[in-house]
Amino acid sequence: MTNRRESGTWGRLRARPGAVVAAAVLAALALLALAAPLLAALEGQDPTTYHDDLIDSARGGVPLGPYGGVSGAHWLGVEPGTGRDLFARLLYGARISLLVALGATVLQVVIGVGVGLAAGLGGRFADTVLSRLTDVLVALPMLVCGVALTSVVPADFPRPLLLVVVIGLLNWGGTSRVVRAQTLSLKKLDHVAAARLGGSGPWRVARRELLPALAAPVITYAALLVPTNIVVEASLSFLGIGVKPPTSSWGQMLSTATTWFRADPLYVLLPAAFLFVTVLALTVLGDAVRAALDPRERSRLRVGTPGGRRLRRERSAAA
């Protein structure tokens, strides 16, 4: 049963060209990030060396030459004010940004789904307590926590990990609310109600009836949490708990680049474009996974409604 289901999902996923392209793009991004030192070496640059001779100091440090100083030596130009190589900074930045954003997203989804399910399935008391807890968390501005955290966390604590924890622990309110709302409405659906009446415990109901049905909104939402987290990471650097200089990240690059979008448009466009491609790929993939998992179908199958079986037959025929 398990195997058949897996292969069915995979098969449907593989059959969607968009999904394949999106997955390939994401894999390529991950590969670029992993191979950053190698690729930078290939270019002959590194992300931290200053090149004062490549910028015009009197004009605010704008890169000399067209397109932000693009040349054979600096494939994507150099950073205004420092002359650091943008190609290298972009690739090294991908490591931090992708790691932090994905890590935080996983944390947010795990906590959010857990709390949301518990609030939706638990009794009125559990719901009240958990919902109010979420309210407290949502109302507590990250700025206030961030400032306090800086004085508690030791300076040599690994920064990317700290970012994952901070963003992950403080920003799961949205996920939990969406999950709670879906749970409340799913609870009333026939098959879930039947399972509950049939004596399944809440944990079993959650695992077998609800989680599959929640996959759709959660995956859809999580795909967009990734860019949000990258942007949050950028703003956290202002609180002193972002990436430490001279480390680069897309968020850090975007925030320093904003001012330059007239004087040196490429500087802004590069991180923005990378971020956009990531978002687009994640969205397409998330959509495809959502459709491929097709939760209703599976849960129906188990409860044994004829509708589910019929639906499945039609779908496979269409695919």
């Binding site: 109010r132 507590l140 926590c145 306090a148 004085s151 309110g173 709302a181 942007v231 969205t283 998330g286």
Partner: protein
């Protein structure tokens, strides 16, 4: 119903209480001494001690907190040096930095943030849900593609980038709109809207993608459900199917998420407020955190907390309404 309201109210008070405790505790560990900041950089130890006395910071944290709670209930009198400043209940204290009553500061700024958040919400719901429906129903059309790319770009771009681009385009280059400055709704509704249009747009672009994707996904799910298929089979008009039934499936997650976003917007729109020069709660919060101005921070966070609680209560009610209709069909 009364029980429901009472339960909500109790929950709300609990949230506000917890928030105030958490903020007090966070300030205990946060760096910076409010007395030193109020006193100026060149004060000596004696002067700092005087200012600390003056601000009541010589008391223990617990005593300070109890005074804070007491002032909310009964109000409090403060010395201005030459006279007495009465801060009526509910009194959240005076700013450490400039002696203004926190309630005055909040009262000045709440309308600004409320205007910003509510207007932006309308816009992101229109843009988000609209795009979501469009992309669920007419897949692959040019309008759908443009809107989808627009919302995704918005999500992937920090608000300070989007905002500055909008300012450059509409206020500087084309000069279609004034550089925003807050005009109260009660003073001139038309100017209020014109001045807030760009901040609203910047926030809506940031938030709408989530709604678009959620709406799309939920609508597709609903459309595939049995009863909808049955309605279609019975020959119900497409518009009726979508309007009456499919959209309803999208409502729960959209309502739930909207409550969260609206709530956070009260405290989280600081970058937008700063960029557009809107004197709202976010700006106040940033400034007071920087200057370790505890009464103002507590007041602001409680204001945000109240907004979050109200938003989530309203969402619960809306959700119950939407839900009942779903079960009815």
């Amino acid at each position: 119903m009364t029980g429901y309201v009472l339960r909500k109210l109790g929950g709300a008070l609990l949230v506000l209480f917890l928030l105030s405790v958490v903020v007090y505790l966070l300030f205990y560990v946060a760096p910076g001494d409010p007395a030193r900041l109020a006193c100026g950089p060149r004060c000596d130890a004696g002067q700092i001690r005087q200012v600390r006395d003056q601000l009541g910071l010589d008391e223990s944290l617990v005593a300070q907190y109890l005074h804070f709670l007491q002032a909310i209930g009964t109000g409090r009198d403060f010395s201005t040096g030459t006279g007495v400043l009465h801060c009526p209940a509910p009194c959240f204290g005076l700013s450490y930095q400039n002696g203004q009553p926190v309630t005055t500061l909040l009262g000045d700024r709440l309308p600004v943030t409320a205007s910003l958040a509510c207007g932006a919400m309308v816009l992101w719901l229109l843009l988000g849900v609209g795009t979501g429906l469009l992309s669920a129903l007419r897949r692959g059309g040019p309008a759908e593609r443009v809107l989808t790319v627009l919302t995704l770009t918005g999500t992937a771009t920090p608000v300070f980038v989007t905002g500055l681009l909008l300012l450059m385009l509409f206020c500087a280059s084309l000069q279609w709109l004034p550089f925003p400055s807050y005009v109260p709704l009660t003073e001139d509704p038309e100017q209020w809207a014109w001045n807030l249009l760009l901040p609203w747009t910047a926030l809506a672009l940031l938030e709408s993608a989530k709604y678009a994707r959620l709406t799309r996904s939920a609508t597709l799910e609903t459309l595939a459900e049995d009863h909808i298929r049955t309605f279609r089979a019975y020959g119900l008009r497409e518009r009726a199917v979508v309007g009456r039934h499919a959209l309803r499936g999208a409502l729960p997650p959209v309502i739930a998420l909207n409550a969260i976003d609206l709530g956070t917007m009260f405290g989280g729109a600081m970058l937008t407020e700063t960029l557009f020069g809107l004197p709202g709660l976010g700006q106040l919060l940033v400034h007071s955190v920087r200057t370790v101005d505890l009464p103002v921070v507590v007041g602001t966070v409680l204001g945000i907390g109240a907004a979050v609680v109200v938003a989530s209560a309203v969402a619960d009610v809306l959700y119950a309404l939407a839900d009942r209709r779903v079960t009815l069909t």
